[in-house]
Amino acid sequence: MAVIARARIAEELSKLLGSDRVVTDEQVLRESSLDRYRKYEQCMGVFTQPIPAAVVYAESAEEVSRVLTFCHANEINVVPRTGHSAIEGGLETALEDSVVLDGSRMDQYTVDPVNMQVTCGCGVPLQALDDALRAQGLTTGHSPQSKPLAQMGGLVATRSIGQFSTLYGGIEDMIVGLEAVFPNGEICRIKNVPRRSVGPDIRHIICGNEGALCFITEVTVKLFPWMPENNRYISYQLPDEEMELGFSCLREVMTAGYRPSFARLYDGADAYSHFSGWLEEGKAMLIWMCEGPAGVSAATEAGIRELMARHPQLEEVDPDRIQQWYATLNWGPEQIAREREEIIATHNIGITTEISGSWSVIYQIYASVKERLLSEVPDITFVGGHSSHSYINGTNVYFTYYYNVVDCPPEEEINKYHNLINRIICQETLRFGGSISHHHGLGKARAHYVREEYGSSYYMLKTLKQAFDPDGIMNMGTLIPLRK
């Protein structure tokens, strides 16, 4: 990779954009060589990935174009980045002398309340955007747990989803138009219209590309009225042994035609980690939130209650407890700092991996993954799971697991534990016909399973990569694994 010397990369980039846009501080470069997939290495200050040659901050699509054109001409691997909250290795600089192209300074947005849409630079922080919109009675409807960290470009690049997805959909349902820059420097805009029938929906070449095809510079998403005064919470506890019933309850609500914004099922272990103030051990939890105009949320609540009343195994929980709990759910910089301190002190590390499956197989995936994790992973201290995004035809499961890193140097942790867990989750999900990634993206961690995930349609993904990035400079190793 890179046909010019490492030192010259930063020099040339400084000439292109100015030296104030190019960072070569060693610690910044080390931190920019990975994301939270390797958080144990990060906490222990051990960096096993190639250290990038520079981090460069672009402030417009034209600047992105100039950087990509330069990198393309010099065969330099480029890792696009905005909020740096990725957790599947998508931001790892897998090749020597990579450039991390950071769009976090493209943070301007324009609200269009007539057409109910907002156009955002890729670096607009979702939290700041949604807080400002809510002050105007609007919302994006997008609220992932990473909301305090994530920025719009990264959210679109990973096909993110938010906690209210059952009503508002994933980011792919919210996108109106996009602007992206391709590795040859071509700037492409997809205009903002409500819908069109003019060939394939090319927005989906960009959405979810994880920086492996292009750099997203701008995104326009839909807006919705924000009416929190109408929110209603419904919750039940049930024995942990009744998880299959829990999935079935989610299915009943979804297939009956109701659209709560929030539909969750926590198993006993996961529920206890959230609700130990009042929940007994061994109890799973079902939670719904209903949003929208008063009549709609009231009707949704009544419908869900009617359906759930048929199950004597369910015991209703005070909705106030759920409303209070929900306010504590997101992860911001404080939680990450606390987690880092705990990991350094205890060498106990917690990670999540999410998958999806149809209603007919989701419980089997959940049960078989849990069984294998508990029996095959050494030093595991916690395994839990919850479903948090449901559809008419299926749902997701979010596995949460912790393990002690024992008799293992930091650079070997990833293979001894994390990759092993990933493998088990991917194998079991594929065995039952589910998808190995529901909303975190493939990154580099799960790219190893991309052929099994795609099956015969892998041809289409590979062709997209060859067509848009024929010389292989865009985030190599993400989506499609590197050839060793």
Partner: protein, 263 residues
């Protein structure tokens, strides 16, 4: 054999309360019932330091660890975890962990200590909810044994004494203390309690906690809580409003810049 007894309190995880909730309340009116429970952080340090102490005890010195708390059934999962970490006995005095009455708590703990006769009683200096800081002192007074506060670490010695590192006003002091004694652990850095594996939980952690009835013992002479009310805090803090950091700084400077000589 030396018996080490760790006394701990289970409290709501107050770090989970969003900042905007703290700003809206006055006194002690924050609803914490919904919050997950944790071991009060100095008590957590105490339990971890006990494990570390046992790990490095001299070969000729056998140690046994026991744990004791006062509270309701919500404490039991923590006691099971301690079994899984190798504690030989995990006990709970039935009662309300939320009660803020250090002399009663000390009296209840003392009754168990008289029965178990530990060589070392280890606890946190103060809990992260009530926070009177009196329980270890009252406990030592009741039992008539020494108490060292602001402990950072300790090591058992072959002669039956314990070497204690503790924070004093002048710096960190090292003392050798005869046992039995009470060690009250302060802000000991990086002393999160270790995590038991699921396998250990499934084997050792299945033991039920020993539940003890409260003795309702007379507290120390002359000490009885008469009343308790939240402090009437009139804070001078002002939250600078503004959509961006720049706007907030601008407003801050407009308000205080000249007064504080910043402009």
């Amino acid at each position: 054999m030396m018996l080490l007894l760790g006394c701990f309190k289970v409290v709501p995880d107050l770090d989970r309360v969003p900042g905007k909730v703290w700003r809206k309340v006055s006194g002690t009116a924050v609803d914490t019932d919904y919050l997950p429970r944790i071991i009060s952080f100095q008590d957590e340090s105490a339990l971890e330091l006990m494990l570390r102490c046992a790990d490095r005890a001299p070969d000729d010195l056998r140690t046994e660890l026991e744990a004791l708390t006062l509270g309701d059934r919500r404490c039991d999962p923590f006691l099971k975890n301690l079994y899984a970490l190798g504690f030989a006995r995990a006990m709970r005095i039935e009662g309300s962990a939320a009660a803020v009455c250090p002399e009663d708590t000390a009296a209840e703990l003392a009754a168990v200590c008289r029965d178990r006769r530990p060589d070392l009683i280890v606890t946190g200096c103060q809990s992260s909810d009530g926070g009177s800081g009196l329980v270890p002192l009252f406990l030592a007074e009741t039992l008539g044994i020494p108490c060292v506060t602001q402990v950072l670490d300790f090591t058992l010695l072959s002669d039956g004494r314990v070497e204690v590192r503790h924070q004093g006003d002048e710096g960190i002091a090292v003392r050798r203390v005869r046992t039995p004694c009470v060690l009250a652990v302060g802000n000991a850095a990086c002393t999160y309690l270790r995590f038991p594996t699921v396998k250990a939980k499934l084997s050792l952690g299945r033991q039920p906690a020993t539940v003890l009835p409260p003795v309702g013992e007379e507290t120390m002479a002359g000490l009885r809580l008469q009343s308790l009310r939240g402090p009437d805090r009139k804070r001078a803090g002002v939250v600078m409003e503004g959509d961006t950091a720049e706007e907030r700084v601008r407003r801050f400077l407009a308000r205080y810049g000249k007064e504080w000589g910043l402009l």
